[in-house]
């Protein structure tokens, strides 16, 4: 089902800041939308408002065509998977999965059929008689998934369901959630602070900070065309290189002066004008190291090298600034070596230093 959030506002009485600040959002039917942001950004609160566990101060929540704003959680036909809770400890795996069905007054056979089907789908069919103490964290989280599925909800809400699992299991479960989404075609809203998780899962990513939606877009859009400084910094590992500078005239065009480094600006930044204080950024993946510099390259010295398997992250000191470059692991480099930095202009970004907004032409 489609989920529409209309001008949602929520402020907790104990807090001076606004948890959810006039959020407007449409999640299409069948979409996997990821709320991404640091802790305290309002992503979980927004999800809890969709679930009916929090009441918004103002605004409306629609699921499909229904306005569910004043509906109790139990009547919303949503399912939720939680971060710090997976199984009812007093029940077996079977009883856990059957729990949402019991309230529906179904026949015993029907419950049995559905429990087994859901358990099979997430791979806990062989654990049905185990108690909550006899399953691992990953298995318990699968049980939670199965339990959320049996009611055939119109929307799945997942609040950091993988963050308590270890790294390997997390990636495995991520794939399973993606598969589950493809098989059921149900709308999923997924909350995470892990931008890698968000990128790999989401059809649509909603980047949030301080209760505000910072950007809504596909993983590619938020990565390649961040709308503002926050999104540019938050999305992507390692983080984007970003420095303060001023826009200056340069021949016929413009350049950015980064205190010691002058870089010609490509024409993609129509918002830039002479004298404007800006933040200039480039992703480490768009920084190349070359031995013999050409005009436009920046000379520097390698200060630190981190091996990351097939890639390596190289920190280069240039004009008193530390740039990080993500290059092929086989590229021979050593600490202390003098190199030239060459920036791929398609990977550079320019933001208004005052408003934080991107100066690139809108997409």
């Amino acid at each position: 089902m489609k989920v529409v959030l209309q001008d949602l506002v929520k402020q907790y009485p104990s807090s001076s800041s606004i948890a959810v600040n006039h959020v407007n959002l449409t999640i299409e039917n069948g979409e996997l939308a990821v709320f991404l942001g640091p802790s305290g950004c309002g992503k979980t609160t927004t999800m809890r408002i969709i679930a009916g566990l929090e009441t918004p101060d103002s605004g409306h929540v629609f699921i499909g065509e229904r306005d569910v704003t004043d509906l109790a959680s139990k009547d919303r036909r949503v399912a939720m998977v939680f971060q710090n809770f997976s199984m009812y400890p007093s029940m077996t795996v079977y009883e856990n999965i059957a729990f949402p069905l019991q309230v529906l007054k179904l026949s015993k056979d029907e419950i049995d059929r559905q429990v087994k089907e859901a358990a099979g789908l997430v791979g806990v069919g062989h654990l049905l008689q185990r108690s909550s103490r006899q399953v691992s964290g990953g298995e318990a989280q699968r049980v939670a998934l199965a339990r959320s599925m049996v009611r055939r909800p119109e929307v799945f809400l997942m609040d950091e369901p993988l963050s308590s699992l270890d790294a390997k299991l997390r990636i495995q479960m991520r794939t399973e959630i993606k598969r589950l989404h493809q098989e059921t075609g149900t709308t999923i809203v997924f909350v995470t602070h892990d931008q890698e998780e968000a990128m790999s899962l989401g059809d649509k990513i909603v980047v949030m900070d301080h209760g505000n939606v910072q950007q809504v877009g596909t993983p590619q859009e938020v990565f390649f065309n961040p709308r503002n400084v926050f999104v540019a910094n938050f999305v992507g590992t390692p983080t984007m290189n970003m420095f303060d500078g001023t826009v200056k005239p340069n021949g016929g065009g413009l350049c950015v002066d980064l205190a010691g480094i002058e870089l010609k600006l490509p024409e993609r930044f129509p918002g830039a004008s002479t004298g404007m204080p800006v933040k200039w950024g480039v992703r480490p993946e768009s920084v190349k190291l070359v031995d013999d510099g050409q005009p436009g390259d920046v000379p520097g010295t390698i200060e630190l090298i981190e091996a990351l398997g097939s890639r390596q992250q190289v920190f280069v000191r240039a004009a008193d600034k530390l740039f990080s470059a993500m290059i092929d692991a086989l590229h021979p480099v050593r600490v202390g070596e003098n190199v030239h930095l060459r920036f791929d202009h398609r990977g550079t970004h320019l933001f208004n230093a005052q408003t934080g907004l991107s100066l690139a032409e809108p997409h």
């Binding site: 109790a72 139990k74 939680f82 710090n84 809770f85 309230v103 009611r151």
Partner: protein
């Protein structure tokens, strides 16, 4: 941390000495309960004798302490039951919701626990006289609730706070109301806590002497009050006294043994705040 043999040994020695201090009076008392009157207070004490039930016969049949046992049972279990019925939901509310004055309410409740019974004895006496509650089972139950409900709320709140609220929220999203979620998923988890709470409260109500003496009438006095009647101005009827004492101690000991596993689990569950 490894415990050396020496540490373990000294721990056992200390526990042994403590146990001796605790057990000697108990055993001596229990034995006296079965002694014939002539050797109640013989010096040196007699340890080997032909046990008799005459003390029990005397207190139960002639002095009608069976009636007092009944009173004790009614009042202790009645007050514990009501304290749980009122206190457990209150504890849940105080654990889960912030509302105007919720913090002050908690502190006020714990302050009730700190009041020594003697402070309230006189006002209670006047109140009970006015409302015709003196000498009724219900009156004494009501008086005990003053002390039991705060204890229930504080203990149970500790247990509820430990449970992630996502547990009920999950049930609420899955089609249950908050009350149903409380009953179906939360209460089963805190059952050991409820048992520990009930037992501690039962012991308080069962042992209580002072309020029972002041507010109880002839027909409603409890076992501790009855036991005190064997301590006279001129002499103490040791055998009869210990016979009643044994009856007072037995239910508590038996309950504790039956519920010890739940009790340990319950005491370990909460009270860590």
């Amino acid at each position: 941390m490894a415990i050396s043999l020496r540490q373990r040994l000294s721990a056992y020695v200390i526990m042994g000495i403590l146990l001796l201090f605790i057990l000697i009076p108990l055993v001596a008392g229990a034995l006296t309960a079965f002694k014939p009157q002539i050797i109640w207070v013989s010096s040196p004490p007699v340890w080997v004798f032909q046990p008799t039930l005459e003390n029990f016969e005397f207190v139960f049949i002639q002095r009608q302490n069976l009636l007092h046992l009944r009173n004790s049972l009614i009042i202790a279990s009645g007050s514990v039951a009501i304290a749980l019925i009122l206190g457990v939901p209150a504890a849940y509310a105080l654990a889960r919701f912030r509302f105007r004055g919720s913090k002050g309410l908690l502190q006020w409740l714990i302050s009730l626990r700190m009041i020594p019974p003697i402070v309230v004895a006189l006002p209670f006496y006047v109140l009970f006289q006015t409302f015709d509650l003196r000498g009724t089972h219900f009156g004494l139950i009501l008086a005990y609730l003053t002390f039991l409900i705060p204890l229930v709320i504080w203990m149970m709140r500790g247990y509820f706070v430990e449970i992630p609220s996502a547990m009920e929220e999950s049930a609420m999203v899955e089609g249950y109301s908050r009350l149903q979620a409380l009953r179906k998923v939360v209460l089963p988890v805190v059952t050991p806590g409820i048992i520990a709470t009930a037992l501690l409260n039962f012991i308080f109500a069962w042992n209580e002497y002072f309020l029972a003496l002041i507010l109880g009438g002839r027909d409603t006095s409890t076992l501790p009050v009855a036991a005190a009647t064997y301590v006279g101005r001129a002499r103490v009827e040791w055998g009869n006294l210990f016979a009643v004492n044994l009856i007072i101690m037995l239910p508590v000991i038996i309950l504790t043994i039956i519920l010890r596993r739940q009790l340990v689990k319950g005491l370990a569950l909460g009270l860590v705040e």
